[in-house]
Amino acid sequence: MSHTDELYLGKTSYQVLGKRPVRHDGADKVTGKAVYAADVQLPNMAHGKIVRSPHAHARIKSIDVSEAVKIPGVFAVVTAADFPNLESRSEVMGEGGSVNLAHMAANCLAMGKVLYKGHPVAAVAAANVHLAEEAAAKIKVEYEVLPSVTWVLDAMKDDAPLLHEDLRTDSMGKKGDRPTNVALHLQFEKGNIAEGFQQADIVVEREFRTASVHQGYIEPHATVALWNEDNRLKIWASTQGAFNCRQQVAQLLQIPVSQCLVVPCEIGGGFGGKIAVYLEPVAALLSRKCGRPVKLVMQRNEVFEATGPTPGSFLRVKLGATKHGKLTAGEAWLAYDCGAFPGGVIAPGCMCVFSCYELPNARVDGFDVLDNKPKTQAYRAPGATQAAFACEQVIDELAEALGIDPLEFRLKNAASEGTRRVDGPVYPRVGLVECLHAAKNSDHWKSPLSGANRGRGIAAGFWFNIGLASSCSGSVHGDGIVTLVEGSTDIGGTRTSIAMQLAETLGIGAADVLPQVGDTDSVGFTFLTGGSRTTFATGLAAYKLGLDLQAQMQERAATIWECEPAAVEVKNGVYSRNGQSLTFKELAGKISELGLDPVVGRASVSPEGSTNAFGVHIADVEVDPETGKVTVLRYTAIQDAGKAVHPSYVEGQMQGGAVQGIGWALNEEYFFDRKDQMRNASFLDYRMPTCLDVPMIETIIVEVPNPSHPFGVRGVGETPIVAPPATIANAIHKATGVRMTVLPISPPALWKALSEKS
């Protein structure tokens, strides 16, 4: 941080931050004018349809497109053969990560084998979507059906069907010696768990299972690609990161990044599921082939069957504590599936499983396992929710066994500044203890809960905020309004939370900033909207942009007053020098009136240090013992936001994450039949919560400033989904005495558990 940052750190009163202005893109979004990818219409545009595998696992013997291309109005058909050969460069190095290009291409259009039902095999472009569908039906694909597997533990067995014959288990650079579906074995160890468990007066060990669930964004994946005669490729996308989309497309098509322009449209939800490309490269190949813009839009069943679920998982968690309620040791064994290609979210799962607690001795083993499902993708705090479902129930069981209040037990062991995580690093200032105290003092926790079959549960949740690169630029207009161009796609109102940080820095109003999300030609590289980074990292860029603009305004003022810039004092947006002063707007007016150099600023950052966000959730439930149906009576989410830039949207993140988590807890799951076909690939049978299924979600925002951000901002987007399934399960245990260790806790499952108990 530069010295100027300290001016703001720890500051408690702000002019703009903490207020609740109407979002800048609001009018467009309530009038139907906002343009989402599926709304884009271009002259002469063709419509595409993807041909998908009906099998969970099969070898492609042949693809015959001859009948399809004969149909009048069919313009182009593509298959994996249309991708450049990527074998030669299967690994793309990049700071903090890598991705296997051949796998990425094979996920867009299958090469040789199909690895899950719905796996794309070919694509067609035609005059309209109905014709494209008819043509797709005419493409004949011959398959040799292979045995398949969709449960993580089955996929780990020696005799399991292999997805990739050449795969070997990687253990930090050391490769296994036999073919397997286990892509990765991670291990973290701290202290000495043998000694730790010896010191324990009580030890609880349990096993947990969770089904795959989907991010469930309401907008299906959609794109329009135009491969122009000048060889420039322009893509309108529904993506969480225009630059990451551009990078993937350019790599898959083996063209320079600058040859590709990605226009990020308004995005109808992502939650981690709109990072990897599915349609964009295929639309590009079709467009190149038929010389027209090509639109591809997924149907809902395609979204379920072929895009990123979160892992199904098996977890074993063991914790020991003294009779005084101090944790002495923890051990966890996690197996997460990653679907058809390696690279799931087992790492954060391992790093989060014990992250809420001061644990002197711990060991975590984690496995990344392939099976015949779509390649898993990030879903809001990827890997953390499954881990918390397991750990927070064992914590609850320990507290109960020791006769200690579950909230007090968590307070006794809560992670705080200086706590060393099982993966090594030590926490800076974090807010878990403050969240637990807020829970303890909440009206919800203090109100008694009475009535039969009712129970109250509590659980804690943790997630990281990542840093990485963000850019923005701004220009000051003659009327004092500032245009802000930033590179973070806006999924939930971040335009406004970023604009507010610029306004705060310049001492102007939120409405005096006009934020817009730039395309990849009009703003500097900005990493995707994910990892709870946008308000934190792009907000930091906006702050630095503010300092740049302010310095230029100061310099122009100095020209006007014929003095040194240093002699111009700036305070809350007022520029002054002995007696004479100008507001930001007045000064902006003078600058254009006198024809001085226009004020145009820019900033780019790559903040180091991923910070940490904690939350605590409380739920009251009622169980119908005859049907196993759970009703959530009351729900409160508490979270450390560092500094809530726009409290309404911070609350919105907490409420939305809580309800997604409630759906994960009670009903949502990928239901596979014996042939490993998903049987509930529709909103009807996937059963996300409707507004009739949840109560109002009460929120309490805790503010423990983030030391690595000038305004103390922490990312808030992901943490809210971590605690809910554990919170609900703990509440159900209180209500019924039954410990539910499998997600979802659906009515038949709970009814069965209850009838077995009695």
Binding site: E133, T627, D685, R687, T690, W751
Partner: protein
């Protein structure tokens, strides 16, 4: 969706003529909330789609305490539960019409369409069975009547022959001291397909203590919506007590022959048949007592 021809006749005669004369497969479009999805997902095909919402008598909803209820096959569900007298006279029908999908579905979907779609899980059919509704079918040879419990013959199949249309559903006038109720079980609180459903109708003795007659219909526990004959007959003459409702539930459980699928296990469905029968009987009796 494959393309098809479309017609919107304004009389039953035109409609039956269109259906009978159709080359290939002709489908009737009432609310369309099932048909359009099935055509889109290639679960059903059609060369001709006949919209019957322009036929006046099929959009007719008429009630008289002496005449009973005549419900045109295309009358959307919302018109049923917004009808004050139906709420009192045929509460089970209103219970069911109110939970067929959400409001947007109820604006279009009709009870007649629900019958003709002939899903084992249809919410309104157990209510029709419990209320002893008659289905009036119009065809080239004129009209014929079929009791609601005999209308469906297999999942997605029914008694309609080519050229025939379900025209009207007829309900006898409500008898004194009678009441009815429909309940289903779903994991969410709206929008789901019934895991199981039960509709009950009872006629009590004047003093409200004894069940003189009862009819129970079940959903999603057999290949078609089911008339629980044994349970219904057994109830006649029994005192209207929780014990009786419980016992009737056991009969319903026995009558059920459900399957396991993504919506529930056979074991769970059979159990629910009992629970819902008991619950709807209790509610029907309560309503009968007024």
């Amino acid at each position: 969706m494959s393309n098809f021809d479309y017609a919107a006749p304004t009389s039953l005669a035109q409609a039956t003529a269109l259906l009978e004369g159709a080359h290939g497969t002709a489908r009737v479009l009432a609310g369309g909330t099932d048909l359009i999805v099935q055509l889109r997902e290639h679960l059903r095909d059609a060369d001709l789609v006949v919209n019957i919402k322009k036929i006046p008598e099929l959009m007719e909803l008429s009630y008289g305490s002496q005449l009973g209820l005549r419900l045109g096959a295309s009358v959307p569900c919302y018109r049923i539960y917004e009808h004050a007298e139906i709420l009192v006279a045929y509460p089970a029908l209103a219970d069911a019409a109110r939970i067929v999908g959400g409001w947007q579905i109820q604006s279009r979907a009709s009870v007649g369409g629900n019958l003709c779609n002939s899903s084992p899980a249809a919410d309104t059919i157990p209510a029709l069975i419990a209320l002893g509704a008659q289905c009036v079918i119009a065809g080239p040879q004129g009209l014929r009547e079929v009791p609601a419990e005999s209308f469906c013959t297999a999942p997605g199949r029914n008694v309609l022959h080519k050229g025939e249309i379900l025209a009207t559903i007829v309900f006898a006038p409500p008898v004194p001291f009678s009441g009815s109720a429909y309940e289903r079980f779903i994991p969410r609180n709206e929008m789901d397909i019934a895991v199981a459903g039960a509709g009950s109708w009872v006629k009590l003795s004047a003093d409200g203590t004894t069940i003189e007659q009862a009819r129970i219909g079940l959903a999603a526990v057999a290949p078609t919506p089911l008339f629980a004959a044994e349970a219904s007959q057994w109830l006649a003459g029994k005192s209207a007590t929780d014990k009786t409702f419980e016992r009737a539930g056991e009969f319903a459980r026995k009558a059920a022959s459900p399957i396991s699928d993504m919506r529930g296990t056979a074991e769970f469905r059979r159990h629910l048949a009992g629970v819902l029968t008991r619950r709807t009987l209790a509610k029907a009796v309560e309503r009968a007592r007024g």
